[in-house]
């Protein structure tokens, strides 16, 4: 086999690359999934409340907060979002040391991911909640809802499809950020691609990891889109029967 491919997949013999893949691939996929899921969860634990506050705390929101506080919040979010992730990873090393007593490894790589994506999530949530119908919120107020009830029973459920779409975007962004964590010794497919595929000229490994990342993104996106559509009751979906009827009329099929 090695003769067959020659140096087509880089200088390392293909059989050696395959052996390496076999040994390391599963573990790296797991590391990627693990860190993506965990970072997304933490990003939402922080970003979701922040996003809610960004909407409700406005002067004409349902629970206005002091203007100064809102300004600081917006400022911090903008700052965090404007630092490139590669640099942010290095900047939060002291934070990782503080929390995990280490700054390398897969767990340590989750911390910069959360720091970078929580503000992003806050903005996504803010965007979703801003779409909510002011009339419905007004109706809820008129019915005697407390601000907390409005958030929990009106704003979040009404924006659920949009929030799911945001979650999909956030997860994919975190997945791709995670691929950079090789820089600080995190594991995962990105590290495999950079450390082995690129630096050690194992092109086969590079291609395989890229394809795997593409597949992961496709899976996340299609699940996200499907769930968001399934949960959205605003649009009346044409039943298959009705669709066929239309097609008949148009003379198709």
């Amino acid at each position: 086999m090695d003769e067959l491919f020659g140096t087509f997949f880089g200088n390392t013999p293909v059989s050696q690359q395959l052996a390496y893949l076999q040994a390391a691939l599963l573990e790296n996929i797991w590391e990627t999934v693990y860190s993506t899921v965990l970072a997304t969860v933490f990003a939402y634990v922080i970003g979701l409340p922040l996003g809610i506050i960004l909407v409700t705390g406005e002067p004409d929101g349902i629970r206005p907060l002091p203007r100064g506080l809102m300004r600081v919040l917006n400022f911090v979010i903008n700052i965090l979002r404007s630092i490139p992730f590669l640099i942010l990873m290095i900047l939060v090393i002291p934070l990782s040391r503080l929390i995990l007593h280490t700054s390398i490894g897969t767990n340590a790589a989750i911390i910069p991911l959360v720091v970078a994506s929580a503000p992003f999530v806050a903005r996504l949530v803010e965007g979703s909640l801003r779409e909510s119908d002011a009339g419905v919120i007004e109706a809820a107020k008129a019915m005697g809802c407390t601000p907390f009830q409005i958030v929990r029973k009106v704003m979040l459920p009404e924006a659920l499809p949009s929030l799911i779409t945001g979650l999909t975007t956030a997860t994919i962004t975190i997945l791709s950020y995670g691929a950079m964590s090789a820089t600080i010794g995190g594991g995962g497919l990105g590290t495999l691609a950079i450390n082995n595929g690129y630096q050690r000229r194992m092109d086969l490994i590079l291609y395989v990891t890229v394809i795997l990342l593409i597949i992961l993104v496709q899976i996340i996106q299609s699940i996200g889109t499907r769930v968001a559509n399934r949960l959205d009751h605003r649009i009346t979906k044409a039943t298959p029967k009705a669709k066929r009827h239309k097609a008949d009329k148009a003379g198709i099929g």
Binding site: G135, A142, G144
Partner: protein, 334 residues
């Protein structure tokens, strides 16, 4: 009883303060169907939103059953709001909840148990005539059906007061009538006080017992529907009661009188008897009459012959009729 005392509302805007309401005083009795009418921008929505304090008046008091809402702490106000239901032009249903769950909503926030809430919600679905829509989502309903669900949701909080802000303005005339009948029915069966905001006199005609006319944030006149319809005293009132106006340019006769029917009489016999009993041949120059609760209301412009004696005779005769008032029109342009 709802008492609005010296309500003013000022909106600060980019180009100065906007006085949307100006010293409004209004009393709405229990069980009334009270209409608040006015042209677009008159301040109707602002006024009705002041009743449940969605909008806080800049000045004045909102007193409901002798309790001043403006002076209440937030918590108590929230509880008070649960007895004031509201329906809207845009229905404002929760789009991600089924109809049944929409109707359960006010009970849910008031802490009613789920099973009980659902059972009561089904009863309200029956009342509004949509028992088979429990599991449908609002997006699957027509406008009229959505408003019925909104009414059921309003009833679910067991309110004392129902506020309707242009509740039928997005509906066609037939559906409008059906919805208004439903509201009237609810008013009569459950004794709920209803406040109806509208720019259409037809709506007032259909269901209201009392009406207030609002123009540019000022309360122009208020009274029973009969009073206002038969004899609007203000310019704004006349504009609303007779939207097409009586076109004075078309009048040819020199002596014009305006007679107002205050119910109970129809006008054809009057013209006929005027001719037979007094020998006065009157010319109908314009009429705007309507049927309210089975009685005739409205005004009619009559042109009389150019003879002072005949005019006096006719005036005397008309004045002696019950339920009719008469006045000479001096400012008419021939």
């Amino acid at each position: 009883m709802i008492e609005l005392k010296h309500i003013s509302k000022v909106f600060p805007t980019a180009d100065g303060d906007l006085r949307a309401l100006n010293d409004i005083n209004l009393t709405i009795g229990d069980g009334d169907v009270f209409g608040i009418v006015g042209m677009s921008g008159a301040g109707k929505s602002t006024l009705v939103r002041c009743i449940n304090l969605l909008e806080r008046p800049t000045q004045g008091q909102v007193v409901i059953d002798s309790r001043d809402l403006c002076a209440m702490p937030e918590k108590e106000l929230i509880r008070q709001r649960r007895s004031i239901a509201m329906i809207f032009q845009q229905f404002n249903l929760l789009m991600q909840r089924t109809c049944l769950k929409n109707i359960c909503f006010p009970m849910e926030i008031a802490g009613v148990k789920r099973a009980e809430a659902e059972q009561r919600a089904r009863e309200y679905l029956d009342i509004v005539g949509l028992p088979d829509k429990a599991d449908a989502y609002p997006a699957q309903l027509s406008g009229g059906q959505k408003q019925r669900i909104a009414i059921a949701r309003a009833l679910a909080s067991d309110p004392k007061i129902l506020l309707c802000d242009e509740a039928t303005s997005a509906l066609d005339p037939k559906t409008t009538r059906d919805i208004l009948r439903l509201v009237k029915d609810i008013n009569q069966r459950l004794g709920i006080t209803v406040v109806v905001i509208t720019h259409e006199m037809a709506v007032v005609e259909e269901i209201c017992s009392h009406v207030a006319i609002l123009d540019h944030g000022v309360l122009q006149e208020t009274g029973t529907v009969e009073e206002i319809f038969s004899n609007p005293k203000t310019e704004a009132g006349r504009r609303l009661v007779y939207p097409d106006g009586v076109i004075l340019d078309q009048l040819r006769a020199a002596n014009v009188i305006r007679i107002a029917f205050n119910g109970g009489t129809s006008y054809d016999p009057l013209i006929a008897s005027l001719a037979i009993d007094c020998g006065v041949k009157a010319n109908i120059l314009g009429a705007d009459t309507r049927n309210v609760n089975g009685q005739a209301f409205g005004t009619m412009l009559l042109g009389l012959p150019d003879d002072p004696e005949q005019i006096a005779k006719a005036m005397h005769y008309i004045k002696s009729q019950p339920n009719i008032t008469v006045e000479e029109v001096r400012d008419y342009h021939g």
